[in-house]
């Protein structure tokens, strides 16, 4: 797929600036997102290729404006919703609850 993810050789994105003493996770939730991979990979039975393709299909503006682990979250939602393990309605309800200050 000739999508926005395929950034190799593209111009105009500026230099790569490595962060000094970069933490493993920028935010605590990223550690939880990382852990979700092994657990959902085992019980939902997807492949890393299907997971990557879910990221490639993100709307381009969202892809460029979101972090590495946000890409992962999008992919989890896509592969789990496709299998009926979660529904889009459940996800929307969860987001609404979190936006309302729930946990």
């Amino acid at each position: 797929m000739n999508g926005i993810h395929d950034l190799g050789g593209k111009h105009g994105y500026g230099p790569v600036l490595p962060e000094e003493a970069e933490p493993v996770f920028q935010e605590a939730w990223e550690g939880r997102a990382f852990a979700l991979f092994a657990s959902t990979f085992v019980f939902a039975g997807y492949t890393v290729d299907e997971f990557r393709h879910a990221i490639e299909k993100m709307p381009p503006a969202h892809y460029l404006d979101s972090s590495y682990y946000e890409h992962w979250l999008v992919a989890f939602e896509e592969v789990l919703a496709r299998r009926g393990i979660v529904s889009r309605e459940d996800l929307d309800a969860r987001v609404a609850a979190l936006q309302g200050g729930g946990r």
């Binding site: 797929m1 050789g9 092994a38 657990s39 085992v42 492949t47 290729d49 990557r52 393709h53």
Partner: protein, 115 residues
């Protein structure tokens, strides 16, 4: 299947490796000059766009792996060799690139033709 403490070491040891034990003949050998196909599917591929149509040299045969292009869509593993190819910087980026620079990329058998 649930991820439990009992199976965790096995999952971590094998990871999500796509290496396959099948005996599949390699279409290319180390030292071969190969041309990357103009492979541009609407579906998943592990071929970066900047390698399409480029000329490279096989430097290493990594062995046999499941093919991401089919496996991403539930179309089977189509096990095949994956090679480390060397591309000159000028082949990829044009005459302004330094002559001494090169890039190595892992490329699947199905993306290639003998040059």
């Amino acid at each position: 299947m649930l991820l439990t403490p009992e199976i965790l070491p096995a999952v971590l040891a094998t990871g999500a490796s796509a290496r396959v034990a099948s005996e599949v003949p390699a279409r290319f050998r180390v030292g071969d000059r190969v041309r990357v196909r103009h492979h541009d599917p609407l579906t998943h591929t592990r071929l970066p766009a900047y390698l399409r149509g480029k000329l490279g040299t096989v430097e290493k045969d990594h062995g046999v792996f499941a093919f991401p292009d089919t496996r991403a869509h539930g179309l089977g593993e189509q096990p095949q060799h994956c090679y480390s190819l060397r591309f000159g910087a000028r082949e990829l980026w044009g005459p302004a690139a330094p002559e001494c620079d090169s890039l190595r990329a892992d490329v699947f058998d199905d993306y290639l033709d003998l040059a």
